[in-house]
Amino acid sequence: MRLALVVCALLLLCCSCGRSRTEPSAGPRHVVYWEKWTDFEGEAMARVVDGFNAAERARATAEPGYRPIEVEMVVVSSIEQKLLIACAGGNPPDVAGIYSTMTAAYADKGALTDLTELARTSGLVRANYVGRYYDLGVHRGKLWGLPTAPASVALHWNKRLFREAGLDPEQPPETLEQLDAMAEKLTKWEVTLSNGEKQIRFGYQRDVPVAQKRLLQVGFLPSEPIWWAHGWGFVFGGKLLEGDRITIASPENVRAYRWMASYSQALGVDAVRRFRSAFGSFASAQNPFLSGQLAMEIQGVWMFNFIKKFADGMQWGAAPFPAPADHPELRGAASAEADLLAIPTGAAHPSEAWAFIRYVQQQAVMEQLCLGQRKASPLAVVSEQFYAQHPNPNISLFAELGASPNAWAAPKTGVWNEYNRELVTAVHKIANLTLTPEQALGEVQRRIQVSYDRDRAIYQKRLP
């Protein structure tokens, strides 16, 4: 009897754990949207969601019998992992705001809904967008997500430090050779003389023994920020993937990372290690660029927000990243990624989810969102008002860089995360002069080609 009671209780518990999928036949249609941003970016999206819900309610008032859609925005951190678990558990959100770098891995594994036909019938075609941003949602010829706020990168420089080093603060470098020369002039040491006296000196101070000098400020450091580890090859015309070939060890890439190693040789490995280890976290006043320890850096459109927050009043500028003097056509190489709105496979309300995605793609709504998130717009047509109202004084530059032929995005492959990790390790080995660029990149190419081939074979085997 008692056992029967226990079994009954357990059965009841199990039954109550299942998610009820029965829909109420009246009232609004509920759509769950997972947003990855918090702070002002999350608030900007929340305003868009409010606008959509208000429009739906107004339509329901005007059209008796129409059941409005109500979007509930849920802020979710680490969306890459949580979306995975939600999809695997059969309980994904209706709409997910994903990173464009997630498209290939999720699409290949059948976790995203194919939006090609929906977009076509809704008139949302590539021509409506900056082509590069639209393409971020396309993989193996199908559309898996539509872009929202895009992000591109540019060279940022600190005008005060330029002035202090005797450089023209309004004149950023145009070639890599100019950047290298300026970086040397912007590098500042505290040198301890043999009599104990301390002196401040500019330049690389190659003749001063390591024990007698301490870095106070660096003009430029290719290993900073480290997330850019995969980006240097593009500055020299290199690629990460061509067709089905991993090309990280190509001559262009080797040249790029050799250039990177030249900074370790000039500054000294140990001096750079010590200097870098004193950097604070990115979102803090101790960020090396914000604290004036680093005079030039490649950073994204978001850097403006951190300057405002942690170093308000800083005099800074942004310019296309320089190219080698022998390849002027490569100037302004910039990564151009974007947030995407996608519908996970198994979403309970795909058509309602699509209605929300379509709403966000309207010019007025998209501009409201991108203005709120302080980014450029991914759409081909942008109002003058958008640029006039935008708080970032360099927003037109970021828009141009994202649309330029030198813009690029992370390769669309399911092994991108592994590729990126391997590259970060290779960059550490190159910057520490542990391995030559040829050795380090050759190792990455060998390992990732194996992973890439395995991933492709699995995908092809499972194609319907």
């Binding site: 056992l3 999720y106 280890s277 520490n432």
Partner: protein, 286 residues
């Protein structure tokens, strides 16, 4: 029989649902190509064979063994020394005990961030103090030769838990044994070697086993202090960190499950070995 089963059913259900099933499922998935998002495809022992040829598997295993050996050894010695000191009858001993125990209450994430700042190569408190005595400290977490050692030191800082267990063990040693040994003319070291250590050997054994288990599962400190890539140059790429990367970043859950099972077997083997060896040096009889 039925009554007994019903009373123990919460435990039985818990054990089956949260331990046995996940263990069995992980073993099954370790024999599959499984991305979580697609149904698993049986591939036999392919994942295990691939592990043998995976450079990062061996690298992470080496890093973890180095860390576990260093952290367990140093933590036990430190915790035991502290416990011996704090077992003496000196004024304010409770305050000292609290002070040494406190770090172990610090959440790992907060502790890791604190140590990250202290380990700063230039301007960090550790190197500043070292410089005062004329020693040029390394760029701890940025130097592949020092990064693991730095994380070991941090682990020793949190040895308060083991210290309390040792302290309880020490207070359990009958004073009659010390009195007898003093009458027989034993000095401090003789009492320590022939009375204290044999009497608290079960406690040492307990701390050793728990330390091995925790040491091989090191994860958060590396993720926070040196990033998921196990920087610098994979010197802090611990086994569980690599397992997390493979499973949750690369979506290769089958391969990650194989790694998890190998780790389970390693810990099982080490615990078994420690238990076998303990018969020679652990004394339970009073």
């Amino acid at each position: 029989m039925l009554t007994g089963l019903s009373f123990s059913s919460p435990w039985l259900v818990g054990l089956s649902a949260f331990l046995l099933y996940p263990l069995a499922a992980a073993f099954y998935y370790s024999l599959c190509d499984y991305s979580v998002l697609l149904p698993p495809v049986f591939v036999g022992f392919d994942n295990y064979i691939e592990l043998l040829h995976d450079k990062l598997f061996w690298k992470s295993l080496y890093n973890t063994s180095f860390f576990a050996l260093g952290a367990v050894g140093l933590s036990i010695v430190t915790a035991l020394t502290l416990a011996l000191l704090l077992n003496s009858k000196v004024k304010g001993v409770s305050a000292y005990r609290t002070a040494f125990f406190l770090p172990s209450l610090m959440p790992l994430v907060a502790g890791s961030m604190l140590w990250q700042t202290m380990y700063s190569g230039q301007g960090g408190i550790i190197n500043t103090v070292l410089a005062k005595v004329g020693v040029t400290g390394p760029a701890w977490l940025a130097d592949p030769a020092w990064a693991k050692i730095a994380i070991i030191f941090m682990a020793v800082w949190g040895a308060g838990n083991s210290m309390v267990i040792f302290l309880a063990g020490l207070q359990d040693v009958p004073t009659a044994l010390y009195e007898a040994s003093i009458i027989d003319g034993a000095g401090f070291w003789q009492r320590l070697l022939h009375v204290t250590l044999p009497m608290i050997s079960p406690v040492i054994y307990f701390n050793l086993v728990m330390g091995i288990i925790a040491g091989f599962q090191a994860f958060a400190q590396a993720l926070i202090m040196t990033s998921a890539t196990g920087a610098p140059e994979q010197a802090t790429l611990f086994y569980v960190l690599q397992l997390y990367n493979v499973g949750f970043m690369d979506l290769r859950m089958g391969y990650a499950s194989a790694m998890a099972w190998v780790l389970f077997l390693i810990i099982l083997a080490l615990t078994f070995t420690a238990t076998r060896l303990s018969k020679r040096w652990v004394h339970y009889d009073r």
